[in-house]
Subunit: 417 residues, 2 copies
């Protein structure tokens, strides 16, 4: 079943807030066999919201429209008004919604006021779904075979509602008419175009219900193989067959076939080997530690990290020798290897990654231009280290260096089995 | 002039990649007086791309349509084909585009192949803009007063093109018909609804070309006042007048009137006072250090950070007394204050923030449920610390605790002047 997502809010359009909701929703929906085919973002303007809803209802014809945002208690939140207009109905007071709001206020010891009470006013033409994660109501509308669900834009509230209320109801309403499977293969040693040439025949021979996508990352390509078909065994079988072919074609170039992000893969690898890791970061400034600890349960394998921005911190906490810093500079193989080894000592862990580079936009030299990053991974007395030249963009250098460091650690752990 | 942004890629719809491009573009466009009114995301499907382009061209009527994505060398990248179809033209070989690609390959020491050469094929009906940041071409189309520009989806390439080519050309083409100004006021001590009640009359009296938006953050509200009007002096004057009114209405509750994100405000405050900071993070796992170092030039005021996930790291590197950990537990006022003071000692900085909490989803107790976070800020012998209860969602607890820690440091620095 097709899904059209609409996210509402001026703050999204002017870039004050990055829309992470719709990506999360797309991921959850795919897992359950719903296919997100279109996404619209509009501001807090009634006519635009109405137009977006109308477009979406017509486009999906009997499908699902999911709205987030514009449900707060303040004057700039006008989604409910637009929904009443679209479904040609009024608002009424919902005692159940009121009780939910009152309960939330009581639990946090805050006093309700006129506007929070107003949040119990809901459209006549809908089913109200109780939002246990916040005060804004979730509402479910049906018209001409279409389902439209409006949820708050606060990520935690939207996620709670999707998981506990909206997805279960959608599954019950639609069953599963489509099995969707995606599988990822991480390939090294190819540029995107060289890999595409190597896989020309493979792609041409793919069955029509399958798709291959190339997602380039620094130093590697994430290949995504997708099957959209009638049932799960068929999708699984088709994916397995094509993966076999990929194996033969790309022998020696497949770095990983795990699904998760690098930080999840690292966690799995460490748990399997009963190891604990640490980080020593200069140019990535804590991003790697942040990625690792974004995974629930990471305290089982992450002891800690040191962000050594200042050279004095590299010396004092990581034990990098003064001589190495002076002779080779902070952005050097000698220093980054010492950082990784120093992290193992200082943080009492089994393995570690380290980064030192010039994130930019300033600080580059002809010899070490902006984007130059040394990365090391150390475990069990062994250290691997490499120099990368990423880009001129600070944000990208930090992100790429962080992802690459995690993949280097995976490589080090894998090669010792 | 109105802008409609279209982002293209299956990876966006299924949530494999979060669309950060369109937020960045919206922000840059606003600064130059272009107003983003609508955003569409579609997958790598020709009919959907065509429909999205057609909708956007009709909606903006004489406005600007900006496309990103789908320009890579592989088979799943079909934006140029869709553009040829829409503008009813063919492709031709561009020597200038070829020279640019060849130069980029030469600089990185890689060999070109058939597919990279194909990237020099460009639509007949457009002006080609050279992309110095990558191999995918940027193309500029005009039809019936509309401008459509297609750019690569790789963020660094899109940003380079917007800054150096697209925005300057748009400014030249359209001049400025609209001055847009946004100003932020950070307000503490109110819930969103209580603040809206306090500002009811203020909002009603706003001139019709102005807008007030409430963006709730943990423990505070970000108020955004916007003016959309004919010229800059008028917009500035209108904003200044309304801010005066806000000052009188919210006396004692305005935390900051700086525009930037908390990490930028902290950087400014430290530079003004010639101070350097450090971090000691447990539950935020490096996120605060990552936020601070995401700002260019942060090495001038950030010495480093310690991610003390394991209690042993809290003891060893931050000098937290064993007794405090045993008696009060890691998530306690005593420990978080010691962490902040320990960070100042260990990292050789003037001030520091520290966090210790239960990010979840596991690890909560009836006394300290998931979402409980102690945060401290220390400077000049003074320490402030507070306990927060954020939410049940790990990602949100980490983000809120990190933002709150930075605001606490701002508060500590401000109150000493």
């Amino acid at each position: 079943m097709d899904v059209h997502i609409i996210t509402i809010g001026d703050e999204l359009l002017i870039g004050q807030v990055i829309d992470t909701n719709s990506a999360w929703m797309g991921e959850q929906l795919e897992r359950e066999g719903f296919r997100t085919t279109w996404r619209t973002t509009v501001g807090d303007t009634e006519s635009d919201i109405l137009e977006a809803i109308d477009n979406a209802m017509h486009r999906t014809g009997g499908g699902i429209v999911l709205l987030t945002g514009g449900l707060g208690p303040t004057k700039d939140d006008i989604t409910l008004r637009a929904l009443c207009r679209y479904f040609d109905c009024g608002l009424h007071f919902s005692q159940a919604a009121y009780d939910n709001i009152a309960g939330l206020f009581q639990a946090s010891g805050r006093a309700m006021n006129r506007l929070t009470r107003d949040q119990a006013m809901v459209p006549d033409a809908c089913t109200v779904i109780q939002n246990r994660a916040g005060t804004a109501p979730c509402t479910w509308f049906e018209r001409e075979g279409n389902v439209l669900v409006s949820m708050p834009g606060v990520p935690s509230e939207m996620k709670w509602l999707m998981k506990h209320e909206v997805l279960p109801r959608l599954k019950q309403r639609y069953g599963r008419d489509l099995a969707i499977r995606h599988r990822t293969t991480w390939v090294g040693g190819y540029s995107e175009s060289a890999l595409a040439i190597a896989l020309t025949a493979f792609e041409e021979e793919l069955p029509p219900f399958m798709k291959l996508a190339y997602l380039p990352e620094p130093g590697l390509i994430r290949l995504r193989l997708s099957a959209y078909t009638g049932d799960e065994p068929e999708a699984e079988k088709a994916i397995a067959e094509q993966r076999e072919k990929l194996h033969r074609l790309l022998e020696g170039h497949i770095l990983s076939e795990e699904e998760g992000a690098p930080e999840e893969q690292v966690g799995q690898a460490l748990l399997r080997r009963k190891l604990r890791m640490g980080t020593a970061e200069s140019c990535t400034g804590g991003r790697i530690a942040g990625m690792i600890t974004s995974v629930a349960g990471s305290s089982r394998y992450f002891t800690g990290g040191i962000v050594a921005y200042d050279n004095e911190v590299k010396r004092r906490l990581l034990g990098v020798p003064e001589e190495a810093l002076e002779r080779y500079g902070a952005v050097s193989q000698a220093v980054v290897e010492q950082m990784a080894l120093g992290a193992i000592r200082a943080l009492g862990c089994d393995c570690a990654v380290a980064t030192s580079g010039i994130a930019g936009p300033d600080g580059g030299t002809p010899e070490k231009p902006v984007g130059t990053v040394w990365i090391a991974a150390a475990w069990n007395g062994r250290v691997i280290s490499r120099c990368y030249r990423f880009s001129a963009v600070r944000e990208m250098n930090i992100a790429r260096a962080s992802g690459t460091a995690l993949l280097m650690l995976l490589e080090l752990l894998a090669n010792d089995c």
